[in-house]
Symmetry: C2
Subunit: 407 residues, 2 copies
Amino acid sequence: MFAKTQKVVPKDELSISSQYLIKASLVNKLTAGVYTYLPLGLMTLKKIENIIRQEMLKLDAQEILMPSLTPKELWETTGRWQTFSELYKIKDQSKKEYALAATHEEVIVPLIKNFIKSYKDLPLGVFQIQNKFRSELRAKSGLIRGREFIMKDLYSFHLDENDLNDYYNKVIQSYHNIFKRCGIGDLTFLTLSSGGTFSKYSHEFQTISSAGEDTIYLCNNCKQAINKEISTEQKKCSNCGNPKLEQKKSIEVGNIFKLMDKYSRPFNLNYQDKTGENKIILMGCYGIGLGRLLASVVEINHDPEGIIWPKNLTPFQLHLLDFDNQSFSKNYYQQLQTEGFTVLYDERELSAGQKLKDADLLGISVRLISSAKTKEKLEIKYRSESKTKIIDFKTLINELKHYYFNV
Amino acid sequence: MFAKTQKVVPKDELSISSQYLIKASLVNKLTAGVYTYLPLGLMTLKKIENIIRQEMLKLDAQEILMPSLTPKELWETTGRWQTFSELYKIKDQSKKEYALAATHEEVIVPLIKNFIKSYKDLPLGVFQIQNKFRSELRAKSGLIRGREFIMKDLYSFHLDENDLNDYYNKVIQSYHNIFKRCGIGDLTFLTLSSGGTFSKYSHEFQTISSAGEDTIYLCNNCKQAINKEISTEQKKCSNCGNPKLEQKKSIEVGNIFKLMDKYSRPFNLNYQDKTGENKIILMGCYGIGLGRLLASVVEINHDPEGIIWPKNLTPFQLHLLDFDNQSFSKNYYQQLQTEGFTVLYDERELSAGQKLKDADLLGISVRLISSAKTKEKLEIKYRSESKTKIIDFKTLINELKHYYFNV
């Protein structure tokens, strides 16, 4: 691991998550709102990516990869070349103008128009997991609001409003699965919010955190919430009518919109119904920022010593520390990998104290220690607990298989 | 599969590979040099990505993900803000200037400077697989020369020239493995070429193809080549001295450079040697364009009917066509997946002829047909062969396991 832990964090990093992510060298800051993912950070990012991809495939959505260089004409068709103030605009050598895609409606709608003609082709879900660019005026919240960031966006295409509503409800369940698997399910709530210009309301997924930029009113009865921005209209739970709502700071970790015909109409994205009549296709879109999700997980899973990764996102499954140049610790390192675990092995010539400090900062879910004291056994400690125990290798393997693979 | 095969290809697509990739709907053209990867194209792209990643990890290289938005100052430090004419330049809302990374030396060198201090940290290999942007004046060769494209770049960091040379030779072997696994090993040759400004020679990997923009002189004795651009200096094989060289058109599918101190010096990337003295770190860099590699594979693996995927890159392993609404074909579809194969199932209400035509165009390595004629058996045909045979399901599974899993 070339990316060693750091003592100093850039002064303008205000969020706890970016301070820990930078100190643990999971990410490195290039400039405001722009980060490099270092090896451990990229490992966690890919775990999030895989969870999201699996849940998207369960919805029968199909994955594509769209470009970032997008011609000006597409953004003029929807009017966003002028109105989207965070759009990065760019010219090539021949003076042709592009926007760096801040979102991809302007690409996917004309793309889909090439392929979808008939009611038989609908409904359809298509998703992407890739970079987006937004020229944010303030980018002070680390990975929570970046100028360049990785998003999953799912776009759905429908016959009519019923078809859209059915799909929208399935995506709500899929999002609950994603946040649960990422270890923040208990603190993440479906939240009614303003729908912008194209529908009265939309939904967000808000995770309770003191680092949040949003405020929600949470119903402890049905576990749904309302964003403060629409709370003047809505004084009770929109789902169960409960008037006792609790005010909380929160981070928006996902959002879902019924786009209706907002983008299909400017591009004339139509289909032929059973009678041969042309009808407009209705759309939904469903976003999750992967870097923001990663940072949110850190915001709500840390202690004064460092990060506490949920087991599905831990960059390595095991962190094996060798203290006294134990002859068999290298064997254990090999055997643990043979048993199917990913292992970060700390055999550096440093003090036990420094290794323990780094292990707490990195936050790998399970720490193992091989030392003169443990002899041929190993000490195991879960990052989320304080107690340690020394057990023999066979018992350890059984415990770890139960913890990670449920066997 | 929403992305159906196409009859019409954009007129300005000159290369055979982009014509087939667009007709088969593996990619979609957004504008010159800018493409969307559709589901089947993305599947093949990811197979290439995995092969490359595995070979990089065998070199003990560590993976990171760098941003595309890179501050102007970095490019001024190396002088490339003025001299790199393909650099896309961009301003944000506060008028801060960035380049869209066309390559990442200007990001990785200052990054590594944060972490590498001592001779003990070297040698080091770090790689990325991600988008790059180049404002190419002409972008007429499809995925072979894009304005936005996906590259693997490996950067290596060294104590001295011997250390760099050792690593460089290991990468040559790694690249041979990659091209072999991608099915173009027999036609791909290590080629001596001009080194640009920082060393007299460098090496490219050139794949023989009539679609190539390059010309090489190939030695049939030792299977190495010389790029025509340096052939006035070098009239015989640089490796074995053979004076009989064969002229061939070729595509550059990889390049490797000894950067020496070209980028480490402007950023003062130093290390402390054993005596405590500060020395400059030497660098190598090693690129492969994934889209270009994918297109090159198509350039040399097609027939008049369509693509012929090598088995390691085929988007699905099996293409199962059902002709006569056979009741058991859906069972076979399930069972083939249970046996561990990825299967594209064509149960569309189209004629047998249309399905066969699409199968040839898509080029999936193995085609299976279930029809009234095959009864409870299946017809198998390899895309690269012309003969077909009808065999029972158990025999089929054994044959396929041997073909794909070597068991």
